[in-house]
């Protein structure tokens, strides 16, 4: 047995001190790839999918997160301590994300982790952080992270979840007696969106006329179109994400379904709309966490947009990019209140934090640390109505932040 294991058992040092001692010892011995002197900088890990299909969203998130850090550093950091963002590429793969997070905690000694875009990756990061008592603010849209099985006191969820987005879109679009058909991607996230829609339909009294589950990651939807058409729905809800969303909407339009029914999606993605063009998305209604068009109504949105434009040569922040900003800002504000990086103090601060940094008032619910926030409902504009290349959507509704739209704590498995 090598020295490492033997001295641990003999002296039985407590976990945290042993970790620091060995870790520090190790890094001094190791070839100094990046010498990580234990100075007083506040280090925050930021895993995001820089390679793969969501690279554009990831780059937006990094820019927004860096903006939040810069703003805090310009104001002297957190009582004098500078903040450093450590961006890592999680390659949209859970295994890769877990490895990067282990490196961030063990080698880079981060004080907290913010980030990740896909549901699987956030759960992998969460698994590593909650076992090691490191705060993790997830900015990936998913219901699963709210449930008690994956929850821990270190886990915070700053993003919307499908229950909120589908619910808001349903409440805006459906009336009593509307006939709704569903095309759903057959994986966890797809089922969550479907559940959100159906839950809201039950309240409104809208009837489901049919449901088709399509294989996750399918490229061809032509074989589902005849059946969807035969259901004669008023609304066609397409519950999937990314490339699946772009392909399925495009092919639904090709098959003339838009003439027959209004196409509605739980989340309408800025970059997918760019990837497919205005004609296909015209009239499609979907939910979103942020849209730069909010600046006409909200001062915090205006402030965020202006700061982002200044830092990025006039570019506007996208929906997923904004998560980088709101996620980081909420954590840094809590650290400010807690006066440092002591985990328990920062958690307590986060749980009572009231913040409005970009999209209106937000706060973390106590039981599942879900960020209670407003849900935008957007409609994709006709090419003719667009007042510029970035003017993609019209804000048709902005459902105010309220715990009523969330699933109840007991339903999620938390003690009453």
């Amino acid at each position: 047995m090598t020295d490492g294991i033997r001295n641990i058992t003999r002296t039985n040092i407590s976990r945290r001190r042993a970790l620091a001692g060995l870790g520090a010892g190790a890094s001094l011995v190791a070839m100094p790839w990046i010498a990580r002197a234990a100075d007083d900088t506040i280090r925050i890990g930021f895993p995001t999918p820089l390679t793969g299909p969501f690279a554009a969203e990831a780059k937006d998130q990094v820019k927004s997160a860096e903006l939040a850090v810069k703003q805090f550093n310009d104001k002297g950091g957190i009582n004098g301590r500078k903040i450093e963002l450590l961006v890592r590429d999680d390659k949209l793969n859970g295994g890769e994300a877990a490895t990067r997070t282990l490196e961030l905690i063990e080698k880079d000694k981060v004080h907290a982790v913010v980030g990740s875009l896909s549901s699987a990756v956030q759960l992998a990061v969460n698994e590593v952080t909650r076992a090691r008592g490191i705060i993790y603010v997830s900015i990936s849209q998913s219901d699963t992270i709210n449930e008690v099985k994956d929850f821990s006191k270190y886990t915070f969820h700053e993003a919307l979840n499908p229950h909120m987005t589908a619910g808001a879109v349903a409440r805006y679009s459906f009336k009593k007696g509307s006939k709704v058909a569903h095309l759903v991607a057959d994986y966890a996230y797809g089922h969550e969106m479907l559940r959100g829609f159906k839950r809201a339909q039950a309240e409104i009294g809208a009837e489901t006329v049919g449901e088709i589950l399509h294989p996750f990651g399918a490229a061809d939807y032509s074989t589902f179109m005849p059946r969807l058409r035969s259901m004669r729905p008023d609304f066609l809800c397409i519950s999937n994400f990314g490339r699946d969303q772009a392909n399925s909407i495009k092919q639904a339009v090709d098959f003339g379904l838009k003439q027959q029914a209004k196409i509605v999606v739980p989340v309408i993605l800025h970059n997918q709309r760019l990837a497919v063009g205005p004609e296909v998305f015209e009239g499609v209604v979907g939910g979103a966490n942020y849209y730069w068009g909010l600046e006409s109504q909200l001062p915090s949105a205006k402030a965020f947009n202006d700061a982002y434009r200044a830092a990025n040569g006039g570019a506007i922040p996208t929906d997923y990019g904004a998560y980088g900003y709101t996620g980081l800002s909420s954590l840094l504000m809590a650290m400010q209140v807690a006066g440092g990086t002591d985990t328990d103090k920062v958690i307590a601060a986060l749980e009572v934090l009231k913040y409005d940094v970009a999209k209106g008032p937000q706060s973390y619910r106590k039981c599942d640390h879900q960020s209670v926030q407003s849900v935008l409902v957007l409609e994709s504009q006709k090419k003719a109505d667009m007042k510029g290349d970035a003017d993609l959507f019209k804000v048709v509704a902005n459902e105010a932040a309220s715990e009523k739209v969330l699933r109840g704590c007991t339903e999620l498995g938390f003690p009453a």
């Binding site: 042993a18 190790a26 390679t51 859970g94 490196e103």
Partner: protein, 330 residues
């Protein structure tokens, strides 16, 4: 059939291994273990070092089939994934102690390898590669559908091992150095077992089959059964790699079953050198470090890794370690 020459033809056509070469061959396992002990202190991070251990074991296990039996399987990710999933489910949903869960993972992965092997070894050449790809993709879709067990697309979680009890000592498994050396013990065991297999009469039989299947059959070897045993052993070692990965990351991603993952295993093995014992391990090390370092410089690291792989297939078919052995070690 892939037939990377086991014997690196020296300038003369005689293969009489020199003193250094034969020393390296006889003591290959102890030498490898010494190298593994130093590994965590040379790499940028312990987490990366454990990944190298995991994929080193997987690549060496895979090479038993690819380099030594000459069968190009494109489905071995299914066994790595199966090992990881079974271990995770055993610990997470049945509270099985970690060592029993690892054993279950290895046995489960081995049984899956036997099943897929029994089907695929009935075919030959390109059809064999295609069957393994198709059957492994079926395992991927079954895991996607069985989300109550495997967590589906979200991956399997909820089985973090904080503490392990080894020979009476309580070891903090979250500590990176402890975790590395515990998992290194597994890797050493795997290397020793594979080395024993390659040195055994069975090892000679699979090499004969790689060299010339028809002649091996005429010499009296039951080619199908020998291939199936090699496939199963190879899958079992890969499953061990999977269990190690589950303990290391406390998470099992669904894409660990996808054919891209199988492709990565083939790339690592060939990069390192399919015609040598330790080559695949070197391939895993180089591949993962290259990926780790390049992805810090540019998000387009895949073009570098892809090009390097193409160049190796063209000019250095024996891989890094194979070429090093042939050129510098007499």
């Amino acid at each position: 059939m892939t037939s990377p020459a086991l014997a690196e033809p020296l300038p003369s056509s005689v293969r009489k291994p020199g003193r250094v070469k034969s020393l390296m061959t006889t003591y290959r396992v102890p030498l490898s273990i010494i190298a593994l002990c130093l590994l965590p202190w040379l790499l940028p991070s312990k987490a990366l070092a454990v990944n190298v251990l995991v994929y080193g074991v997987v690549a060496v296990g895979y090479n038993l089939l690819f380099g030594y039996t000459g069968l190009l399987s494109f489905g071995h990710a299914a066994f790595v994934g199966a090992g990881a999933y079974i271990t995770g489910i055993a610990i997470g949903q049945f509270g099985v102690p970690w060592y029993a869960a690892v054993l279950l993972g290895v046995i489960g992965g081995g049984l899956l390898a036997f099943a897929i092997g029994a089907l695929s070894t009935r075919t030959r050449g390109i059809y064999f590669s295609m069957v393994t790809l198709a059957l492994a993709q079926l395992v991927y879709y079954v895991a996607l559908q069985a989300s109550s067990w495997t967590g589906g697309e979200n991956g399997l979680r909820g089985f973090t091992v904080n503490k392990i009890n080894l020979l009476g000592y309580d070891i903090n498994f979250l500590d990176p150095v402890n975790k590395y050396y515990v998992l290194m013990a597994f890797a050493a065991l795997a290397l020793w077992v594979v080395s024993r297999i390659l040195n055994s009469p069975f090892g000679a039989a699979i090499e004969a089959i790689r060299e010339n299947e028809r002649r091996a059959r005429t010499c009296g070897y039951n080619v199908e059964r020998t291939k199936l045993l090699s496939f199963t052993l190879s899958g079992t070692i890969c499953a061990l790699g999977g269990t190690m990965s589950a303990l290391h990351l406390a998470f099992v991603p669904l894409d660990s079953l996808h054919y891209h993952a199988s492709g990565m295993i083939v790339m690592m093995t060939l990069l390192g050198g399919a015609s040598s014992f330790f080559g695949p391990f070197v391939g895993a090390l180089v591949f993962l470090v290259m990926e780790d370092v390049f992805s810090l410089w540019t998000s387009h690291w895949q073009i570098i890794v892809g090009s390097i792989f193409v160049l190796f297939v063209l000019f250095l078919p024996k891989g890094i370690w194979g070429t090093f052995l042939a050129r510098f070690v007499r």
